[in-house]
Point group: C2
């Protein structure tokens, strides 16, 4: 296999900061990514939790340029590049490859529903051929609850046969362990990342590659540490702690809740901003969240210092 | 009310032709639009049936420029401009307004599911304020089966209160007459277009504005004629004929089926091309469709001549 090595470990679908006029805030994003990378957490920027589909291709290119321009290592970047329109996907993907990103996380086109595996195969195929670069490494993005366009085992099998050096892994956000187990069994060497850290230990025990999870925005060190030390005697205990934190966030609108937490622990209220159609937490939701986190003794060490730098 | 008059009658979500390399084919689109306009059919270009969400913003701008540049009347154009990302929606909408389009058809942002009316209100609001042009007339686009993001009566009520001169109508592709009847009753003067000509007569009898329907690509003259003459004694008979044709197309993947019909009746096989994730009809599906159309004595008069011009 030529090009970058397969990615592994923990990546964060980094939340995206906005300025008061809702334009993207590259400087805050760079600082947040430094904080995550210092905790051994890779950068799956432009994921669902990044509000990536609320950003234009131009904005994503601007942010990716800012990240690499600030010296963050593209070998630890897996930007989301899948859009509804092939030209958009090709443009952003080619740019990510040019900047040296080790991989891209690619949603299928998600407007039309009930499309066939043949249509999705053609879609990925067209993108791969147009990008036309052997450094391109695609991680498929299976998130049926949101995209409403599933990536079936049959489709993966066909893509692996046609593009074995390019289609190298998947983020599975279905929450369905049966599907993940089937992939691990059927596609040896295919890098499988559950989209939720509650399945991290189980996944590592069965040959998974790591995880790409929303709450890696909040709890990166603990999640990365478990991924690195999943054979440690206290691994299950660590997994259980992690799940408790996840439960708190998951009971709320997840993206606004993570932004509220980052705003609180960084001391920078600007982080609360979301782009419509999302809405920030209500005052009551926010107070409830912070109370629960305090009760847990939760902290985000170093965040305020990094964001103030 | 300042700016363009409210639109009415029949509009076609014009199917989009592609060249062999799948790039957009402005010349074929211009000719198709001439054929539709000559049959009293307005141009709801960039609708679902136009594969609009498989086109980049740049491609849509290029096509819109080509249409107005060819002398087609923007007073009869209602391009689809709603995208997932506000900057994309604003860019295309502002361009359509600048070109003089009488209205735009605006999907809500459709990636995130389960979003609140508050979030959707903010989304439309942000677009309206950024475009900042009193000539802007928005027709909301309610298509829950595909977008998975419904536009509720509560949201419409709030938008009408805040932007009475801008939010002027809706295309309702829910197929749910109860919802359409409720809008006609609750929002007098709001231009309601069913997204399907099978509800055209019923809608006209209850104060509807016309219809915006896929099969207006195939059957524009008959549909436009019924909209204009819905009080004629044979109106129900015409409606029934129309429904028969619709049934044939609806039994197949609709967009590829319409493209196959246009390819056949124009004598121009290039029309069969679709962009992934869609797939053209199989040979058997196509033969079956054309047999059924022949049996009905169906034709698309003038199409071959217009496309050859």
């Amino acid at each position: 296999m030529s090009g970058p090595e397969k990615m592994s470990g923990v990546l964060s679908p980094v939340i995206t900061p906005f300025k008061a006029d809702l334009s993207v805030d590259a400087e805050r994003l760079v600082r947040q990514c430094r904080w995550l990378m210092a905790r051994d957490c890779g950068l799956a920027v432009f994921g669902t939790n990044s509000e990536a589909n609320s950003l234009s291709v131009e904005e994503k290119i601007e942010l990716l340029d800012a990240l690499t321009g600030a010296g963050l290592d593209p070998a630890r970047m897996m930007p989301g590049t899948g859009a509804c329109a092939i030209p958009d996907t090709v443009r952003l993907t080619a740019h990510a490859v040019k900047l040296g990103c080790s991989g891209v996380l690619m949603l299928p086109p998600f407007y039309y529903k009930g499309v066939s595996d043949e249509g999705l195969f053609r879609s990925y195929s067209e993108v791969i051929q147009r990008v036309g670069d052997e450094r391109l490494k695609i991680y498929l993005y299976h998130f049926p609850a949101v995209s409403q366009v599933p990536i079936t085992l049959t489709l993966i099998e066909r893509l692996l046969k046609a593009y074995p050096d390019t289609v190298v892994g998947i983020k599975d956000s279905s929450g369905d362990w049966g599907n993940m187990a089937a992939m691990l069994k059927q596609f040896p060497g295919f890098a499988m990342f559950p989209g939720n850290e509650t399945l991290l230990l189980k996944s590592m025990q069965n040959g998974g590659a790591g995880c790409i999870s929303a709450t890696a925005n909040i709890n990166p060190a603990a999640i990365a540490d478990l991924a690195a030390n999943w054979q440690a005697p206290d691994a299950q205990e660590r997994q259980d702690d992690m799940n408790g934190l996840r439960t708190i966030f998951q009971a709320l609108p997840l993206i606004p809740a993570m932004k509220a937490a980052v705003a609180h622990y960084s001391g920078d209220a600007a982080w609360e901003r979301v782009r419509p159609p999302l809405v920030e937490l209500s005052a009551a939701e926010k107070a409830g969240l912070l109370d629960q986190l305090e009760e847990l003794g939760f902290d985000m060490p170093g965040l305020a210092e990094t964001q103030a730098a």
